[in-house]
């Protein structure tokens, strides 16, 4: 049963891109949507949002840069290592797991570096790839979404985001163990 599911996931991996790209065009044609015009309209809207969120982004990105440059991130890495080892997270994937909620570009850098060092088809290389794909940059999302409507009291949003991140990161390790074990 689990063998079957793993095989199904591999087939999905192979066909996802052509299927999605094809179905977007197909559905647009069927509904007689003018793809190009609609795309341009959406892109214009995106630009306006981009300008509105700049101050929030500057604040968050600065704070994160301080956190990294001051060495606080390295300290945190050393502190949490015993716990994450227990949860089955490979030591090599730990920097990725910690940086992912803080900085999207930072995580991308760590992922590229890890893939270069260990190889894209190694277990570690796959784990960091799945981690990158299965989680969001929580603090960036908080700043962008709440910034766009002017919310300053975010209540439990940060904790929920971090829990979501932790779940996604651990799920990445476990799913990789299961699918790529052979």
């Amino acid at each position: 049963m689990s063998e079957l599911l793993a095989a199904a996931l591999r087939i999905i991996s192979d066909w996802a891109i052509p299927l999605i790209a094809g179905s977007i065009v197909l559905i647009a044609l069927l509904q007689r949507v003018k793809i190009y015009e609609v795309f341009i309209e959406g892109a214009k809207e995106g630009f306006n949002v981009g300008v509105r969120i700049i101050p929030y982004l500057v604040a968050i990105l600065c704070a994160i840069a301080f956190f990294r440059a001051s060495g606080a991130l390295d300290l945190l890495l050393k502190m949490v290592a015993p716990v994450t080892n227990l949860l089955g997270m490979p030591q090599e994937a730990l920097p990725m797991a910690l940086v992912r909620p803080l900085s999207g570009s930072g995580a991308l850098g760590i992922m590229s570096e890890t893939i270069q060092t260990h190889g894209p088809d190694s277990f570690i290389g796959r784990v960091v790839s799945v981690m990158m794909g299965s989680t969001e940059t929580t603090f960036y999302v908080l700043a962008v979404y709440f910034g766009s409507v002017g919310i300053s009291k975010i209540r439990h949003a940060m904790w929920v985001g971090l829990i979501a991140n932790a779940a996604g990161l651990l799920a990445a390790v476990w799913v990789c163990r299961w699918i790529f074990s052979n």
Partner: protein, 91 residues
Amino acid sequence: MAELQRLNPNKNIASNSMVTFLAMNDSCITLVPATVIAVRSSAGSANPTEIIGAVILATAIGFSVAIVAAKTLQRFPVFRIQAPTPEAQNV
């Protein structure tokens, strides 16, 4: 988010729906992680897209946990909305 803000009685405090919406975004179901595939491809992977299935499954797990977490934490007294809503003031 703008639509949710229209329904929100306290304009500077996040509503429960907003946090749940954000939780869904934090773990957004990624169908095609394009950047990841590009990096893997340029690093010489034999099959750059082989991780898509794993990504979808891992996101689905994260997504479920996120929604449960949002629904659970919103009941905690620490996270209750402090300011009176306009309705409460009128009563």
